[in-house]
Subunit: 360 residues, 4 copies
């Protein structure tokens, strides 16, 4: 089947015809009128590439070092909830694909399999994405649990203190199917672990994500977390600087893949001002709309150290299980190599702002 | 039915299939080539939101004070004619929805039920939208009547001294159905109270709206009106300043929902220069194209104190009567709360220009 | 029939279904890829109107004086060839419509009825549009003939020294039907008077339009022409100045309705620089894409003294003969009045640049 | 058949219905998401033409001198592979069309007939487009062979050191049909001469194009090449300057017709900065998206000495063999003459930057 799927977008089309509507809509949709979801893609088109000729590109090196570890590609798998909607084995299947593609998975707080059980299958240690819960003790205990299991780094997602507007989910009445729950949150009781993530009636808060988190809590988290700590969901340079001052090791410039507040800037447009604000001392990652090797190159040219990939690997998982995840990553790897070769770049250090020209 | 209607635009689609063509076209259409009607929506997309993270948003307050009264949401129901086209009970049904949603209705001069009879059902005092008639005595008498009935504020609509071009209405030969008339104008005789509001043949004037109104008349009106007086339909900063100098308490930046002169600026684009021109001393409201909570936030960030909602509540009325009106308002309320929460704002005072970035 | 036709574009749609393909394509099409044809319309959308309120508009005056004559509307009927394609009586029918609408027709050199015969029916003297022929003596004789018949002004069209690319005409093999010819050119022999106006094979020149016309010829023409002389087809400010220096009384900013060189600027975009270059001493008219009253107002605000209307009146002629021509003009008249009323203008002198705001 | 084909785009439509999918997709498609393929066309629309009137254009001269030879039109046939996909006689048919249209063919390295055999039929000496192979000796020998056969100039294509992403080819599994091979490379063995030109599996390199070519190799090539030497595929002003410093006689500003790296600038947008960087001493050609006479004029106005035409003549070849090639060129010739005539230009030297206005 996946022979004919030649790029990442093809996986979305294939998944659409394979998945049931609930699962597909959950993954593919964005917040509000999906303005930001679309902008995450179209904003890449405003950046033109300026290739240089007659560089020897007979060897191309895509490796990058993040927090002291080597990654064979500047691409990680973004944290995304509920993989069992895509595949019966859920995250346990995803990790096999990540292994095949030699790629790090950022495990979601809202995974349908526990961090610990997935880590047991992982060739590379997972990173862990955290939502802080109202019950801070629970949060701390969960953090200790993933750290003990070998978690390499922690990303705290900060861009959804209240539920987002998800019209496509609301229209189909999306809810977690019976028997599926947020495995990492099981100890909070199954009412909570299975709770809906959308506004119920007109209620905008959620049992599994604190709405009162502030920079103060971050100091506490920093203390609890001996591994690299990142904030995920930063869009404003001033927040990036605050993250830095709060002792974070990195930030992920992200708008949650256009799923949180609709109408915010695309991440590729937001990236440069943030990179400038924090300076070279901080690790800046980004995600949102990465679908092509040239997208990766553009993000790196604007100062991201690496990017995260969201929906496409979920569609790979839906279409072909682990093999689909791996093929999605490897297509992107090939596209990165080709982009570098045609730009005249031998390794990632040569991907610099001068390769880009802002259209209009 | 309205369960599946998850946002304000859904109500338009639903109304289209429920209403007869005459009624739907009357409400949905705009002037001329509908350039301004479209611009009223698309101009919001030129404004990107810049959210801030890690603010405590566990309590969100959407109340605003207008002329000394508290409104639970910075949203009023805009004056719109002929509610009986939407619902057999017309404005008498609308007001029940306004009551349910704790929202102020700006009663239209061209209502199909009298201000007085609607006010009798109103939980909150209505505002009154005035067109000045050629017969100024009649106008003064009507004004006294609504004031006695408890009208809280008066908006004089100034943007239609002549009939507008309404191609979609002309094409279907729109006219008020037999038995429906402008109840507030009944004393002018039923020929006038039921007169067409579009050009007849090539005649551009209208029996029920004066075309010779000037700033002089405003002095007179100011004298007759002990409650807050606003002008509705201001688009030019200089006119806003003249309104201020003429003793008006507020202005409504409006292009009549794209129904008056086609080709004028969208209201969200016109707003900032007007706010700057009049300074903080004057209450500036706006309407036109408000369909999402983020639209409300953008208008407030640019200096509007509150906004008015037009077509969507009419569609709510058509789809579900009072319950539809209330649900439309409450959807917008929820969207406002979510927008504020995701932006990091606890109350309306925190909605400031820095939250916006002008694209292009 | 034309009851349901509520604006000028409606006449195009109606004509499309009534006319045979040859005639419709001839009129509706533009040169090349029709980039300029489209730009002539879309460029109006880049100009937003800034209306002013509370001006007395109970009387609106649309009259304008051109070369000492009063026109009831700042709109003339542009010169267009071959009216018998639209209506069996051709220009003899058109002129009746012009009479009904009290509007001046600019008779085309390539009319299918002679200037003289049409002038015999005309309530207002026609203007005459000239193409200079290779045989300058013939041209001079024709000029004397139309002048004797009462021609009020002469426009020399200068924008088609070679045949244009007309793909839609080429595709259907457009040619003048048997029995139709350029009546004014009959004395050149019927081979010439009926000659094709498109490239034949790869031959780009045309028997009925000189390709070697220069500013020198203009001096000669000026000498032959005691009535106001204009150049039609000017797009460059320097050419406008040269026209002025050559003693022309006016220019018509025109790109031949997007039928000459595709890829040139829209006329509404070209207008302001030309008006500035020639100063107030010269009469500047414009045409191209006028379809709405607001288009007329925009052109006047940018300095045009009046505009010419092309395709729409031809469609009116096709749909309803003289009555169609008249109704098209009167629809535009009403739209002009409404635009002025809603802008707060009582007469054309009040239509000033400040009414416009350039978008983007 | 080709009577009804009135412009170059029509030939694409006709070829689509005549060719088998493999051949059509190979020619028509571009790299990646085809952003650059589209930009190559749309970027021409950002340049508006400023025509001048009343110039004598009764004689129009389109000849240009390149490296001491006169060309009747500033248009060459770009190097494109595998003409036997279009026509059974391949390049042997193409050259007959080039002869008929008095036009120079730039023979592709990847032709399906040898340079020598095609040259034997050529009225004008061909230019030769080279890819340097890993085996530099082979490359040198081939170069000597084409030079002996009378090659007039050499273009080294430098923009594809690695295989490009060609989704449309991948989707249909494009490969050279049995019995077709790169005739000029036959001596490398038929495995190589027939090797696929797209990534195989995830392998990005290609047996027939070196990936380690650098500016050093260029010195060597310069020494081997007594005729004019050009680089094809330059997009960056600095690379243009390096070409100049390396002793090249010319450059071709090209993005390989949007077939190499997707996301790079359109060539018409890239052209001006390159022309400025190299100054008047160097011959700058360009290709990419030329479909209209006005495109040729725009390229010349921005400093190109001539342009190359790619896909359209292939479609001509597919539709009508040599006659189709010739008609495509002659349509373009006529369009160039018309554009010049309507702009007021008698010869190419009059095509200057002042004829253009950059929109937006
Ligand atoms: C189905 C889905 C679920 C997601 N769940 C989470 C989550 O639980 N936590 C989180 O921080 N981000 C979540 N995200 C956001 C992703 O981490 C990432 O920011 C986004 O998908 C990147 O954009 P892309 O999908 O365009 O690549 C989710 C995204 C999707 C598509
Ligand atoms: C059906 C309809 C009738 C209207 N009637 C009036 C009216 O009688 N007086 C008035 O001042 N505005 C009238 N308006 C304009 C509204 O007050 C308001 O300015 C506009 O609807 C806001 O734009 P929106 O519909 O996009 O929200 C009307 C609007 C509509 C849609
Ligand atoms: C069918 C047709 C024939 C025309 N013939 C002539 C002509 O013979 N002489 C001339 O100067 N302009 C001619 N024009 C151009 C018009 O005078 C005018 O410039 C143009 O139509 C204005 O644009 P519009 O059609 O968008 O209103 C012709 C236009 C059309 C549509
Ligand atoms: C089917 C096809 C094959 C091509 N093969 C080659 C080639 O072998 N070598 C080369 O330098 N350029 C090649 N090109 C690029 C052309 O030389 C030229 O740059 C491009 O086609 C110009 O763009 P256009 O097709 O829009 O006119 C090819 C283009 C096409 C369409």
């Amino acid at each position: 089947m996946s022979q004919r799927l030649v790029n990442l977008d093809d996986y979305e089309a294939a998944a659409r015809s394979l998945l049931d509507e609930q699962a597909f809509e959950y993954v593919a949709s964005g917040a509000g009128s999906e303005t930001t979801l679309r902008a995450n893609r179209t904003a890449f088109d405003d950046l033109e590439l300026l290739p240089r000729m007659l560089h020897d590109v007979s060897r191309i090196d895509t490796t990058v070092e993040l927090f002291g570890k080597i990654h064979s590609l500047p691409v990680l798998l973004a944290p995304t909830g509920y993989h069992r909607l895509m595949h019966p084995l859920g995250e346990l299947e995803t990790i096999l694909g990540a292994n095949m593609a030699d790629c790090t998975l950022v495990a979601a707080n809202f995974a349908t399999e526990t961090f610990v059980s997935v880590q047991a299958q992982a060739a590379r240690p997972q990173w862990f994405q955290m939502y802080v819960q109202s019950d801070r003790t629970f949060t701390r205990d969960l953090l200790q649990e993933v750290l003990s299991a070998g978690c390499e780094a922690v990303c705290v997602t900060v861009d959804q203190p209240v539920n987002a507007i998800r019209d496509r989910e609301a229209r189909i009445g999306f809810e977690l199917p019976k028997g599926m729950e947020r495995a990492n949150l099981k100890r909070l009781g199954s009412a909570v672990a299975g709770a809906a993530h959308s506004p119920q009636g007109f209620h905008i808060y959620n049992a599994v994500r604190a709405s009162d988190l502030t920079w103060k809590d971050l100091e506490w988290l920093r203390g609890e977390c001996p591994v690299p700590l990142m904030l995920k969901g930063i869009l404003h340079p001033d927040d990036a600087v605050m993250a830095q001052q709060s002792g974070c090791d990195g930030i992920i410039v992200s708008n949650h893949g256009g799923r949180a507040l609709d109408g915010v800037q695309s991440t590729i447009a937001a990236l440069p001002a943030i990179v400038e604000a924090v300076g070279p001392g901080m690790t800046v990652l980004m995600d949102g709309g990465i679908r092509r090797g040239t997208d990766v190159v553009k993000a790196l040219a604007l100062g991201a150290k690496a990017v995260l990939l969201g929906r496409p690997y979920l569609f790979g998982l839906a279409v072909d299980g682990a093999a689909g995840v791996a093929r999605v990553v490897n297509l992107l790897r090939m596209e990165c190599q080709i982009a570098m070769g045609l730009l005249g770049c031998q390794d990632l250090s040569q991907i610099q702002p001068q390769l880009l020209h802002r259209k209009r």
